[in-house]
Symmetry: C2
Subunit: 344 residues, 2 copies
Amino acid sequence: MKEVKIALLGLGVVGGGTYKILTEERETIKERYGVDIVVAKVMERDIQKAKALGIPNSALTTDIEDIAKDKEISVVAEFFGGVDFAKHCLLRCLDEGKSIVTANKEMFAKSWEELERHAKKSGAGLYFEASCVGGVPVIRALCESLQGNKVVALKGIVNGTTNFILSKMYDEGIDYQTCLKEAQQLGYAEANPTADVEGFDSSYKIRILSSLAFGVNLPLNKIYREGITAISTEIIEEAKTLGYTVKLIASGKNNGAEIQAHVYPALIPLSHPLSSVKEAYNALYVTGNNVGDLMFYGKGAGERPTGSALVSDIVKASTDQVKIRFPFIEIPKKSTKTLPLTTF
Amino acid sequence: MKEVKIALLGLGVVGGGTYKILTEERETIKERYGVDIVVAKVMERDIQKAKALGIPNSALTTDIEDIAKDKEISVVAEFFGGVDFAKHCLLRCLDEGKSIVTANKEMFAKSWEELERHAKKSGAGLYFEASCVGGVPVIRALCESLQGNKVVALKGIVNGTTNFILSKMYDEGIDYQTCLKEAQQLGYAEANPTADVEGFDSSYKIRILSSLAFGVNLPLNKIYREGITAISTEIIEEAKTLGYTVKLIASGKNNGAEIQAHVYPALIPLSHPLSSVKEAYNALYVTGNNVGDLMFYGKGAGERPTGSALVSDIVKASTDQVKIRFPFIEIPKKSTKTLPLTTF
């Protein structure tokens, strides 16, 4: 049995979930995928968190060099969040030839080219299925299932916080501020909700998804972004009367000559499959020139759904013969254009 | 650029669609996947079909040995349909070390073990994404995205013909026989519709999907099977009154001790995402112990949607370093049990 030693950076909600899944499913993974994944090191300051998970003190470190320089570790999964420190740690690991796995969409969307350069240099792999749409395997689908297609459009509900708020506003007629407060109390929204409600989080994800779908390097600053803070109960009521629901949509379009990407609150006809994606569920609707319309649906966040995608990537990184980097082709000659849209 | 020579067996609807996609997307595939796929030989009696697609006579053959013995061909995609002759041809190709790609669910469901044995012996790969749910990448998802899960349940609408008939009965109140006739006129149902309306086609697919999801070899004769011929307008009306729709469901369940698989017309609550899967669309609803509920939705049949899955497999077979066979683990000790179910 092949044994692969890995390290986890951080034990937050998703880091803890990933550790639990790796522990609970270790035998299943050995049996079905022929690899024994051993968490050899964990970078975490909070000894209590590690203790609660049953991780021995001897596996803990607070210094990335302990992991980067450990020649026995071949895969490193990052759960820190934030940009600079997470990137610093991952670049060190890539430079030492370790494949990296991450769910950190902000860091990844902002640092993809740099990570890619370092990965190429050392021959390591980049795995980021968990960065978009939680446990739903949309990145695998875009990269490994649509080879016979030109993807012409993506339309996604890719942010759980805003979908929870908008679902509640729609179903219960409650105003935005009250719904936001409830989302914060339930832990679905952060104290400072800007990244979610202003559409930044969705823009990171559509930057990643559109780049893969269209084979281009779509820069973040070319994505039109509009959040949900201006959505009033009146707008929701009017949409309802007209047979629509309102969703924060992250969309990418490729008409062959030009690529456009937008994040905006859109009117979705109730007959469209995306209209029934509620609360914490997310979905990506993909249109290929040959396959037609596809939809991928599931939980977009959470300890175990996102942990599931991270474990999938860890198993893949541990068993792939050819490391996955999904290299860009090139930034398209015609740069992307943005147009505010209010219908779907 | 790596060049891979392939052969196509048969130029029916899906075979033709696959050839068109390979031709139209050849440059995109070269650019994005680094492989030039060349259709070197085609086994087809009907010269007119080949001519219509622009395939030169010199590429045509009616003898499988011309393909099996051609050392330059490394991948063979089969479009014959039927069981015995298709299997004979594919076994010959496997024995000569060629990887095979097929959408032929009946042949595959009935001959998987035999194909597997021959593939193992020669080191060739088996690729069958297109055998279930047309262009929707459900087999990739089950095998390469859920490594951190025990799949506990599958529920699928996996047959387009019956979904067309049941959607029409539900939406328009028309009786079964009239809907069947319309499906036949539109080419959605065959002159002898038994394979679809009696649930055989769905049972082939749930045999394949459940085996992969649960890591077992689920025999066809352990699958409970009930078709839609007894569904009357009265049943549909009553379901409607109670807030349900009626769908032919192929389901697999794994409670840890026992695996069950059923094909049966089920009452689906209108709040369930599967209730809105209409007409020619198919979907697979997958529940993993960690990821929770996922749904994969798209066109379940047709020249280009199914062709898209075949081209995906052809590209994969042409580029994979490790050939994919998804070997079974073993037939579970507790044999599967069947229980007729009428609710969902």
